[in-house]
Every structure is written in C-alpha cells, then in structure tokens.
Amino acid sequence: MPRRTDTYYEKLQRTRIWRSIFRSGAGYSTLHRALAIQQNIFLHLFSTKVRRRMLTFRATWYLGALTLGTFFILVVTGVLLMLYYHPSVPQAYADMKDLKFVVSSGMFLRNLHRWSAHTMVFLVFAHMFKVFYRGAYRPPRQFNWVIGVVLLLTTLLLSYTGYLLPWDQLAFWAITVGSNIASAVPVFGDKVSFLMLGGHQVNANALLRFYVLHCVILPLAAALLIAVHMWRIRKDGGLYVRQSQPGVESPRESHADEAGVVKV
C-alpha cells in the first residue's frame, strides 16, 4: 500500500512500464538498492556494496573514476566534432578554421575535447602510479594491473592519433617525429611506419588511417578494456585498500571464488 510520503516519482516507479524497463523494483530497501546495481547491465560492473574506506578520497583519489569521466566527455565531444570534420587534405585544416570561426560553440567543443584528452593522459599516468604505490597491483589483481597498462597504451595511442587530425604544422611535425621513432625498430621498423602511415611520408593516407584509428578502432578497444577493467575490480574483491590490521585481507582471500563460492 502506498505510503504517505509517496511522490510522483515513486508512483511512476511502480507502473508496469517502468518495471518492464528497470528490473530492480521500486523501493529503498537494501535489497532494492543492491538490485539497482546488480540488475543493470552497466552498473553490474560494480559490486553492490563497497567498504566505506574505499570511497574515502585518501584511498584512490578517485583517479580511475575521473579517467572514466574524461573518457565520457571525449566520446561525446568527439562524436560532435566528427560531424564537421572531413579527413582529407587540405579540407581537414579548413574544417578546423570553420569550427573555430563559424560553427556555434565549435571552438568550445574542440577546446573541451583537446583539454580533456590531455587531462585523460595525465590521469591515466597518475592512476597507474597511485595504484602502484597503494600496492593494489598485487594478486589477485595482477591481471587487472596488466589490463591497466594496456589501457595506458591505448590512451596514449588515442591521443597520438588524434593529434594529427587538425592537419596543422603542430600535428604534422609531431606525427612525423613520432613515425620516425617507429621506423627505428631494428628489423621491421620501416614496415611498421609504412603500415602506420600508409605510405612513406605523412600525407592524406596517414590522415585517413589515423582518423579511422582515432574514431573507431581505438575507442572501441578502450571501451571494451575499460569494461573488463571495472568488472575485474569487482571480481578481484573490490577496490584494494591497505589493511589497518595486517592479515585480514591476504592474497589468499580470492581463493573463495576459485573454490566456487557463488555470490548470487
């Protein structure tokens, strides 16, 4: 029976349509809140409960969460920017000018994309070091650490490929320098840069390849890895926090899962 303090929101939550969409029922019980997480494809990457100490700022500085935030911003702004961008020479540069001068808020979105990208790179590094110094890489979280490293590389690649797209002097020479580094690989270095640029120097081919990498391949890879990364946080026993009294959480803790203890 409806309570006195019912709001429209709560009434709405009890409609059949709502129930058909959100598998967790309405309500404020611990159970409902647990379900809200557990029954949601996105949120179920999190565990339903967290230790309070994990959420203190001291523990993680929220670096992972912030990185995720920048990633969201980048996806949104990136998609919008794509609508005014032609990956061709020299149109790409003209498009930058249009974004700057004639597209409403075009410059703002470009700025936001740019600064968020730099921030993300920085945050990823910071996140890695923080995790290391917290010792959170230790088993059972080894593999998640490895995924983290891969994500770091992916982020760098994303930023690097995006760097060429404006097709200005900055971009062109940064990429030229970079691709020359790649071509220094002992045996198949030239092949690498040849494949990377789709040619022997940075030109229209390279632009198109970097565009595809930047807008399709790498973001998908990143999204996938991020999902795994966060899912593993949960599966590896939640965020790691240094133990106040040693021994409570030992490396052996996770064997419970391996032994087949099923959390429903």
């Binding site: 809140r33 949120l43 929220y62 930023s159 062109f172 580094i181 690989v185 940075v202």
Partner: protein, 234 residues
C-alpha cells in the same frame, strides 16, 4: 552405504522473497569464512553519488578551462617548412628528450619496450608482492648489487653526457643509500619510511622522477635546435 556425493547442495530459493546463499562445497577445498568487520555502504546511491560528484567537479573545471583557453592551431601542414623546434605531444617529450641523447633504436624502441614489459611483469614477482624493505634481508649482498647497479648506470649516463637523466638518478641513489643505512626500528619517521620500501618501489620512484624531469625539460626548457631555452623568453 552409498558413495558419498561429490558435493552437498543447499536449498534454492526465490531471491525476491528472501536473500539466501547457495554454497557449493567441493571435496578439494575447505570452506573459508572471511572475517571482514569493515563498515560497508551501498554502491547505489551512496557510492555512485560520490563518483558522479567527482566527475562533475572535473567536468566543471574542464569546461571553464575550455571557455578560457583555446586549443592551439598552427599554420597548415607544410612538409617543406619545418618549425623549430618540432615537438611531439607533451607526453612524448620525455621520449624525445632521450632521443636527443640515444640512437632512435635505444630511446625510441628499447627503453619504451622495456618500460612496458617491466610494468606488465611487476605483479608476477614475489619480491614485488611481498614488498619487503629492500635492505632488510641479506643486506650486504643486496648493498653490493645496489652499488654495482647504481655505479654502472651513473657511469653509463655520465659517459653519454645525459645529465638530465643523471641528476634524478643520483638523487634516488642517495636516498636508497640512506634507506640502506637505516633500520625499520629507527626513531626518525622518514628513516622508518625509507627502510620499509621494496626494490620495485625504488625503481618505480626512480622512473617517475625521471619521467617528470625529462618531460618538464622537454616541454619547457627546450628551444630551437633542441638547445636549452627558458620558457619565459621563448
């Protein structure tokens, strides 16, 4: 006498009525009971709210930055006209700085590759997992190894005149020496701190230190022809 079952099954139940746990206990392992008296909170809304809060703060900051500072846009790409200096994105400037000293194969490939490998393997070495203080166990031997490594590295850098990388190295080495000479039972806090640090900690710290120094130098203190320059008169 029936064969004992491989496992005993609990009773299933409807989750919506009551929360129960089904526990499968195999013969191979014993049941573990985890003692965790920690205070826990619900991820929803409590935890998510904090995350949302953090992200909002960041977003606000970024939006302000984007309103104030414009992203750089140079002249159109011109293969015939190389700007001086031609710099990579800032996060590669450490790399470029090293390229200034070492052949591309070393600076561009070897070092990054080694870095990545090192990072990946960190959690797979017990020494890193146990993470005991570097000089707590058989001190003498480790100290010798440390001396050799430190000396070798320093000489190598000195020989190639990579002072930018040498200075941080020496500083870190100095601290390690202090750590070696201090016991975890020391009265001074920083000595206790240093003494407790593991080898991986030291390496990572050295790497972090180098990374920061090289990147800062490459970003702010390098002018035309990759010569020294000051940011304010550039």
């Amino acid at each position: 006498m029936t064969e004992p079952k491989d496992f005993a099954a609990g009773v299933g139940s409807d989750i919506r009525k009551s929360q129960k746990r089904v526990l499968f206990v195999t013969r191979r392992t014993s049941v573990q009971v985890k003692v965790s008296d920690e205070e826990q909170i619900q991820t929803f809304p409590e935890g998510l709210l904090r995350i949302a809060l953090a992200i909002e703060l960041l977003a606000t900051a970024l939006i302000f930055a984007s309103l104030v500072f414009n992203a750089p846009i140079e002249g159109i790409a011109d293969p015939t006209n190389t700007p001086n200096p031609a710099k990579a994105p800032w996060y590669f400037l450490g790399l470029q700085e090293m390229l200034h000293y070492f052949p591309p194969v070393v600076a561009g490939i070897l070092i990054p590759a080694l870095l990545v490998v090192a990072l990946v393997v960190i959690p797979y070495f017990n020494v890193n997992i146990e993470a005991d203080g570097l000089f707590l166990k058989n001190r003498r031997r480790r100290l010798n190894i440390f001396y050799i490594a430190a000396l070798g590295l320093s000489i190598f850098l000195l020989f190639l005149e990579v002072y930018v990388a040498l200075v941080p190295t020496l500083i870190v080495v100095a601290f390690m020496r202090i750590a070696a000479s201090s016991s975890p039972a020391s009265t001074q806090r920083y000595r206790r701190y240093l003494a407790s640090k593991s080898v991986s900690w030291w390496i990572m710290t050295w790497f972090l230190f180098e990374l920061i120094v090289l990147t800062v130098v490459g970003t702010f203190f390098r002018g035309p022809g990759w010569s020294w320059a000051l940011p304010w008169n550039g």
